[in-house]
Amino acid sequence: MKKITLIGPIVFIILWAIISKLNIIDSFFLSNPVETFETLFLLIKSGEIIPDIIATLSRTLKAFIIAAIIGVPLGLFLGESDKIYESFEFVIDFFRSTPATALFPLFLLVFGIDDSSKIAVAAFGASLIIIFSTAYGVMNAKKSRILAAKIMGANKWQRFKHVIFWESLPETVIGLRHAISMSLIIIIVTEMFIGTNVGLGHRIIDSQYIYSIDSMYAAIIVTGILGYLLNYSLLFLERMYVHWAGK
C-alpha cells in the first residue's frame, strides 16, 4: 500500500475526533474514535466478534459463489443472442431495479427463517448483476476478433470458447466485484431483520438496541473492512488473470 493512500483515513479519523471532541454531534450518537477502536480491539482480543465475522463472511461467500455459478453461464447464454437477450431484457431490468430486500418475505416463505433464505436472497440480488455484466461483455465483444477466428476456421462453439468468453471476461469480473459487495449488503441487512444469533448485521442492530454505541461503531468498521477486503481480493485476481483488459 502506498503511503499516500493513508492520508485519507488519517484525515477522516482526525475529523471524527474533532467533531466528537467539540460535541458537534451528541456523544450519545457518535462515540469518539479512541473509545471505538478500544472496543474494537477488545472485541477482537476476546474473540467475541470472530464468530460474527465468520458467519457473515461464510454467508456472503456462499451467496456470491451461488450467484456466480448461476449468473456467469446465464449471462453468457443471454448475451450470445440478441433475440434471447431482448426477450428477457425487461424481466432482468425489472428485477434488477427491484430492491432484492423487497423480496425478503417471499424468500422467507420459500426457504424458511434459517440461513438458506438469507443466502438465497443475497444470491438472487448478486446474480442479476452478474448476468447483466456478463451479457453486456458478450454483446460488446470486438467483432474483428470474432471474424478473425471465423476466418481461421473456428466454428461457432470454438469462437465462443476461444474468443467471446475471453472478450466478455473484463465485464464479467466488474460484475463479480459489484456482486460481492451486493451480497455483503444483503447479508448484513438480512442478519439485522430476518433474525439470527450470530453475524455482523446482528451485532450492529443488537448494539443499537442496547445503546452500546462503541460496539455498534466497532462492528460497522469491521463490516467495512470486510467489504473492502472482499472487493480488493477480486481486484487482485482481476489484475492477475485479466491483465489484458482494455489493451
Binding site: 474483428s144 471474424l147 478473425a148 477466428a149 481461421m152 476456421g153 476461444h162 489484458w244
Partner: protein, 246 residues
C-alpha cells in the same frame, strides 16, 4: 486452386452502391494488388472474397475453397490479435483450430524461418505496432493458406520495416506459391509486390484497368530504381489520375 472468376459482382449497403458490375479473373498463384481511391470499396471486396459478407448479385467461380484454404490479415490487425494469449499462443490458434499436430515444432519452424524480432513469450499488447503487424502476418501464413488476403499490410510500418515485410512476403510467396491479394492505397507498394495491379474506380467500385508487372521476383531496392518499375508505376498513376481528376 483454380483462378477465381468474378462476373457482374454487385454489393450495396442500405441505399449506397459500393460495388457495381465488377468483372475480374484472379489468376492462381500470383500476387494481385488492388489500388484505388480511399473508401472505394476495396475492403468490401476483400470481405466478400473472404466470405465475411455476402454479395448481392453476380457470380464467383471457383469460390468453394475450404476454411483452412484462406487467411486474411485485416487493416485493423491489432484488433484481430488475441490479447489474452501470448504471442506464441496467438500463432498456435489457427493450428489448434485446424487440429494440427506438432504445434510447437510448427511455430518454431516458421519463427526461425522468417526471423522477425518478436518475443513469443510476451503478449500482443506488449509489442510495437510494427511487431503486431509481423505477428498478424505470421499467424496468417502459419497454416500455409492457398489464398492470402492482406488489407493494407504495411499501414503500421515505417519505411525500413515495410521493406522487411515485403521481403518476407516475397520469400513466402516464392516458397509456397499461394494466391496473394493485397489491398493498398500506396502505389509504390502495389507495383513493387504485384504480378498484376488492378486499378479500381471510385465508389461504386469497378475495374478500371489491369496492369501486368513482369519484373522478376524477388524484387529488391534495385527494382525500385529500374526504368521498368517507373514505367509501370506511371501507367498506374495515369489511370488513377484520370479517375480522381487530379
Amino acid at each position: 486452386m483454380e483462378p477465381i472468376v468474378i462476373n457482374k459482382l454487385d454489393k450495396s449497403f442500405k441505399k449506397t452502391k459500393i460495388i457495381s458490375n465488377l468483372n475480374l479473373t484472379i489468376p492462381k498463384e500470383k500476387i494481385i494488388a488492388f489500388f484505388g481511391p480511399n473508401g472505394c470499396g476495396k475492403s468490401t471486396f476483400m470481405n466478400i472474397l473472404s466470405k465475411i459478407i455476402k454479395k448481392d448479385s453476380g457470380t464467383i467461380e471457383n469460390f468453394n475453397y475450404e476454411k483452412d484454404d484462406i487467411e486474411y490479415v485485416f487493416q485493423n490487425f491489432h484488433e484481430s490479435l488475441f490479447p489474452w494469449r501470448t504471442n506464441k499462443e496467438n500463432l498456435a490458434f489457427p493450428l489448434q483450430i485446424n487440429k494440427s499436430t506438432n504445434i510447437n515444432q510448427h511455430i518454431s519452424n516458421i519463427y526461425n524461418k522468417y526471423n522477425f524480432d518478436i518475443d513469443l513469450n510476451l503478449y500482443p499488447y506488449e509489442l510495437s505496432g510494427g511487431q503486431k503487424q509481423f505477428l498478424a502476418f505470421l499467424r496468417a501464413i502459419i497454416t500455409n493458406p492457398k489464398l492470402l488476403l492482406l488489407d493494407e499490410p504495411f499501414s503500421a510500418l515505417d519505411y525500413e520495416n515495410s521493406f522487411l515485410l515485403s521481403d518476407k512476403l516475397q520469400e513466402y510467396y516464392l516458397s509456397n506459391k499461394p494466391t496473394i491479394l493485397i489491398v493498398t492505397h500506396n502505389i509504390e507498394e502495389a507495383v513493387y509486390l504485384a504480378d498484376q495491379i488492378v486499378v479500381l474506380s471510385k465508389k461504386p467500385t469497378k475495374v478500371l484497368a489491369k496492369i501486368k508487372n513482369p519484373l522478376p521476383y524477388p524484387r529488391t531496392l534495385d527494382t525500385l530504381r529500374s526504368e521498368e518499375f517507373h514505367n509501370i508505376k506511371n501507367d498506374v498513376l495515369r489511370i488513377f489520375q484520370s479517375e480522381v481528376k487530379l
